[in-house]
Assembly symmetry: C2
Homo-oligomer: 206 residues x 2
Amino acid sequence: MRTAEIPDIVIGRLPIYLRELELLAHNGQEVTSSHELGERLGISSAQIRKDLSWFGPFGKQGTGYHVNYLVEQLRKIMQVDREWPVAVVGAGDLGRALARYGGFAHRGFRITCIFDNDVAKIDTYVGNLRVMSTVDLKDEISLRGIQIAMVAVPAGSAQAVTNALVEAGVKAILNYAPITLSVPPDVHVQYIDPATHLQHMTYYLR
Amino acid sequence: MRTAEIPDIVIGRLPIYLRELELLAHNGQEVTSSHELGERLGISSAQIRKDLSWFGPFGKQGTGYHVNYLVEQLRKIMQVDREWPVAVVGAGDLGRALARYGGFAHRGFRITCIFDNDVAKIDTYVGNLRVMSTVDLKDEISLRGIQIAMVAVPAGSAQAVTNALVEAGVKAILNYAPITLSVPPDVHVQYIDPATHLQHMTYYLR
């Protein structure tokens, strides 16, 4: 089922499909169609059918998709049918907001540790989590076997933090610092930079 | 220069190029090449040349790009050679972090107002900004002529907030709520949902 040929852009749409299907399931809807999903997501129904067909025949012509079954299958495909421990680096406004964010719990993730290099923040609490020193980052992350981290430090510190995360065994980094990171080929990075998203849109404003 | 034919995926890469060029300029570098930019960004140099060629001949074979000139041109193309006022809706952890974030100032944006519907938050301050009631959202935003907003409210309120923003004249929305929004065709939406980004990466983890 998992082949190297599946384009990354297809993989990137799966979480969007899953999120919408989970919303339908939450609302008690049992069956949907590529047409309905497409309408709700602003994606063509043909695109949705094509994307899902990489992973198997999930629906029948004329009867649509069983929402709960497709949710379960997509969770397995994306490996979020489990709970991944996640580290947050940076206990500033953003890092603290991420550590307290309630939106990870039902989507496969739990923030289990948070680090900062500011002595004024170390040993303070963010929710239930004690802020640890970045001095202990490598040991703690490799000891806990954490593979996923979110980087919420200033741009000037982000590459050094990333290097430490990679040495500790992290394989997936969600980077909030406004800088492109350099990582080995087996480490995945996704970027969240609100100014970049805003600039993408101002191009179109008249 | 601005044509409807330019693919949106090209527009989406321009802010990444600009950000890296600004970093080079900040470091005092005067000239760069598509090869160097490509190395730093993990994008092929051919892709970069092709993307930039939509907008004009910015470099000469063999001499590369003048960093400051290209920065200036990209800012004009994306219309961030000015400062756009931006509204934040939601004064929770995330909304407050966004309102205080220092990374917008030099990239074309300034948060000028923040709204919440919680009476415990209304009239409190986030930095210099007084939290206003969402009751006043439409009037304030249309009065101020604001075209850009960031939505940082729970998923269940995001569509209603979006409708109010659109009625007030907002044309570009950066949505942090984990839900796909429905907007008229002339309104642009970009999405930031960390769980979606994380799920994209867990697909690849072994």
